[in-house]
């Protein structure tokens, strides 16, 4: 039976000095990601990691493994003792299944990690193939373009047989490279940027700017729903969301500043607040979905003028992506349909007719003289609401509504 999943690690095997730490991290991440499957047990062997299924469904487990950063590839494998006749029997069963499912040709590949095994890799391949031809008349080998490859991995701890290799997510183990603040609007890009950051080993805490009544609870709920989609990729299967009350600042800007600079200044305020929150939670950088040239606030001039207000690095995973490529990732992580829900967010409520695409830093600073923003920023940071989103418990955001009575359910 296919009773194990064999996991191979990706880039982390390159990082010699930290390798051990990385491996501990990813092993723990895998266990947390698969926590719902109570029967699973685990076996770690250097750069390989085995999940023992004990009857849990391989396909369901595989779906979750595809969301664990740092996995290069994995295979659902059958384990048997390193003994030729046992290997042959198991091989027969697997090959039979593949042919039943419509494959026509195959080939056998052997890797012998256990050099004590009496036959060489080539000899094992030959012996197993010979047995298969004899036992399963009508099957065909094709060494160049087989429909599937039966891999035999002869190791000290047993022999592992498998017929497919599934691609993992790649990247670094979630949480291995420090914490960042993700600015998230509710659009297509920001959550994709967050996903990229997590995949590359960063922890994210999300920051969302809410401007009720210009924006509704539905807009916040949209952000919650988006973030819940990327929780399975995270280290602790959870994401913290900071909801910043932004109405006062936004109104002040639109009352007091030049219309074409409003967006620039609004973004500067958001950056300032995000940096303050980063200091509070010990985050080292800001991540956002900015994309060079996409809108007025994302020209290089705008980025320079806006970024000027913060001292920590700003990481823009999507900076050079084409829009379609971002959409493709959004669809892949299942956030696209949520992103296109038609609610107003802070960035769409007040849109000037002709925003400045080449704002100057000095002008921006001058415009800001018109508002006493220091106090407003203190207030916004102070009044920020934090909620923790967790796997398997959908968060319902309804700040102003009565709690639902649990007894009804």
């Amino acid at each position: 039976m296919e009773d194990h999943i064999l996991i191979r690690y990706g880039e982390l095997s390159l990082k010699k000095s930290n390798r051990k730490q990385f491996i501990t991290k990813i092993n723990n991440n895998i266990k947390r990601a698969l926590k719902q499957f109570e029967k699973l047990t685990y076996e770690s062997r250097g750069l390989r990691f085995y999940v023992l299924l004990h009857g849990e469904d391989a396909a369901t487990v595989s779906q979750l493994l595809k969301k664990v950063p740092g996995i290069y590839s994995f295979s659902v494998v059958s384990r048997t003792t390193s003994d030729l006749s046992a290997i042959q029997e198991t091989a027969k069963m697997l090959v039979q299944q593949e042919f039943k499912q419509g494959a026509h040709t195959f080939k056998v590949e052997t890797s012998r990690g256990d050099k004590r095994f009496p036959l060489t890799s080539l000899e094992i391949t030959k012996e197993v193939s010979r047995y298969l031809f004899q036992q399963l008349p009508g099957i065909q080998a094709d060494v160049h373009h087989p429909d599937f490859v039966l891999s035999l991995d002869v190791r000290q701890e047993g022999t592992f047989l498998y017929t497919d290799i599934q691609k993992g997510l790649g990247g670094f183990p979630a949480g291995s490279l420090g914490k960042t603040m993700l600015m998230v609007s509710g659009g297509i890009d920001s959550v994709v940027a967050g996903y990229m950051a997590i995949k590359k080993g960063m922890t994210i805490e999300a920051v969302h700017f809410a401007a009720p009544p210009y924006t509704s609870d539905l807009a916040v709920q949209k952000v919650v729903d988006l973030l819940e989609k990327i929780i399975p990729y995270t280290e602790y299967q959870s994401i913290r969301l900071h909801i910043v009350p932004f109405t006062t600042i936004q109104k002040a800007i639109y009352d007091a500043c030049r219309e074409d600079y409003c967006i620039t200044i609004m973004r500067r305020m958001m950056y300032r607040i995000t940096e303050r929150l980063a200091q509070k939670v010990g985050a080292l950088a800001i991540v956002n979905g900015e994309n060079v040239g996409q809108v007025a606030s994302q020209t290089l001039e705008s980025m320079a003028t806006i970024e000027d207000v913060v001292g920590i690095p700003v990481i823009r995973p999507l900076a050079t992506f084409d829009k379609q490529d971002i959409v493709d990732v959004a669809k892949q992580i299942d956030t696209y349909d949520i992103s296109i829900r038609p609610y107003e967010d802070c960035c769409t409520v007040f849109v000037p007719k002709h925003p400045q695409i080449k704002p100057s830093l000095s002008h921006a600073k001058q415009e800001e003289q018109n508002i006493n923003f220091a106090e407003m920023i203190d207030y916004a940071v102070e009044e920020t609401v934090r909620i923790t989103l967790k796997k398997d418990s959908h968060y319902i955001y309804n700040a102003n509504q009565n709690e639902i009575n649990d007894d009804l359910f």
Binding site: Q36, G55, E56, D57, A59, T60, Q63, Q97, K100, Q101, G102, S216, D217, L218, Q221, D392, S393, H394, I396, N398, N400, Q401, I404, L408, F409
Partner: protein, 373 residues
């Protein structure tokens, strides 16, 4: 009243009725409205969905709410198959499915699908026959968990393993007679589509559930607004859905106790039936649900027995209202009972936690009196 027809429908729980009324009164808003009231209503549905999935340990699945099990079965099967129309695909079900599955398969057969109806022996499918039937063109296998007429429990766990090992077919399980009455004896997470209804377990008519794997794309069967991922249009019934959540919560709270209690009743009943010479018990070796007992009389029609018992305020089900003129019998019943006389002379006694041994005693007295008829 002595009610032994719980497999047809059950006594609604007063708690569930209260929940329905309360929510219908309080949250009558349209969950698709974009204003705050709509959000409130939608939150109730979301919470009900999460509660249900947690109760069933099926976190991560999607629930489509329908008008009942019939619609859910139709949605599951048509939803999977319709995109493949004209593509010479193969689908599998059994001879003893409920009409809401069986007739859909018959319709699909007319539409050009190749259909295998698995045979049953004493109400059980043979997994080897299934294994042999699977091909690379098989796109769906639909099998009921617990049979509604004689209570046979299909080997769903083995079925899943075989289907997954030998095909890429999707798996549909009609779980109507099992859910909330007995614990899953298979890994329900591996089932792609599962049909439930609430009114058989103390809930209300009008709410069926189709629990689907998230990755599954179902063809729309009821076109309308964009409700339920556009798969099933129509304003969603908030109160009905919350009541469904309550129904399952209650059923699972008492699952083990009720199962044990009904199993004892079942033994009590069978002990007394087996000594009546003109009664044949339509259950032999194998796994049967304790909630369903099927018997046939050697000399009287089931329909007559039913009407006779109702004079004493005792209510049982019958296999089928046989049409004398056309000499047609419900297909499943014929298959399940092997012989025509057993099908015609059959009654179904379906139990619940509301029944007592005293009620069984009274039923036995009335049945014994039938000797002279």
């Amino acid at each position: 009243m002595i009610y032994f027809d719980h497999a047809a429908t059950s006594i609604p729980s007063s708690t569930v009725l209260e929940v329905y009324q309360q929510v219908a009164n309080m949250v009558w808003y349209n969950p698709s409205s974009m204003h705050k009231l709509g959000v409130v209503a939608k939150n109730y549905i979301d919470k009900a969905t999460i509660t249900i999935l947690n109760t069933l340990a099926l976190q991560g699945k999607t629930i489509y709410y329908t008008s009942g099990a019939t619609e859910a079965n139709n949605l599951a099967i048509y939803g999977i198959c319709m995109p493949y129309i004209g593509k010479n695909k193969h689908i599998i079900t059994t001879q003893i499915e409920h009409p809401s599955v069986y007739r859909v398969f018959q319709d699909l057969e007319k539409k050009g699908f190749r259909v295998t109806y698995l045979h049953t022996h004493n109400g059980f499918v043979d997994i080897e026959e299934l294994k042999a039937a699977l091909t690379k063109d098989t796109i769906l296998v639909s099998m009921m968990w617990v049979n509604n007429i004689i209570g046979s429990i299909q080997p769903i766990g083995e079925m899943i393993q075989v289907v997954k090992a030998y095909s890429h077919a999707k798996i549909h399980v009609d779980a109507v007679q099992g859910i909330g009455k007995m614990p899953f004896d298979y890994n329900a997470n591996e089932v792609d589509l599962m049909t439930l209804t609430m009114h058989k377990i103390g809930g209300l008519k009008g709410t069926g559930l189709l629990i689907a794997s998230q990755a599954l794309a179902l063809q729309t069967m009821i076109h309308g607004g964009h409700q339920q991922h556009s798969v099933r249009g129509g304003t969603m019934d908030v109160a009905g859905i919350v009541a469904a959540s309550k129904t399952l919560t209650l059923a699972y709270q008492h699952l083990d106790a009720h199962y044990q209690y009904v199993q004892n009743l079942n033994h009590y009943l069978l002990e007394r039936l087996k000594d009546i010479p003109f009664v044949t018990i339509n259950q032999s070796r194998g796994k049967y649900s304790p909630y369903v007992v099927s018997i046939s009389f050697s000399h009287i029609k089931g329909e007559t027995v039913m009407h006779y018992l109702e004079q004493y305020d005792i209510y049982v089900g019958i296999g089928s209202a046989c049409n004398e003129k056309q000499q047609t019998l419900e297909r499943a019943i014929q298959v399940l009972t092997d012989e025509t006389w057993r099908a015609i002379n059959m009654i179904r006694i379906s139990l619940s936690e509301h029944n007592t041994t005293q009620e069984i005693d009274e039923l036995i007295v009335r049945i014994k009196a039938l000797e002279r008829m």
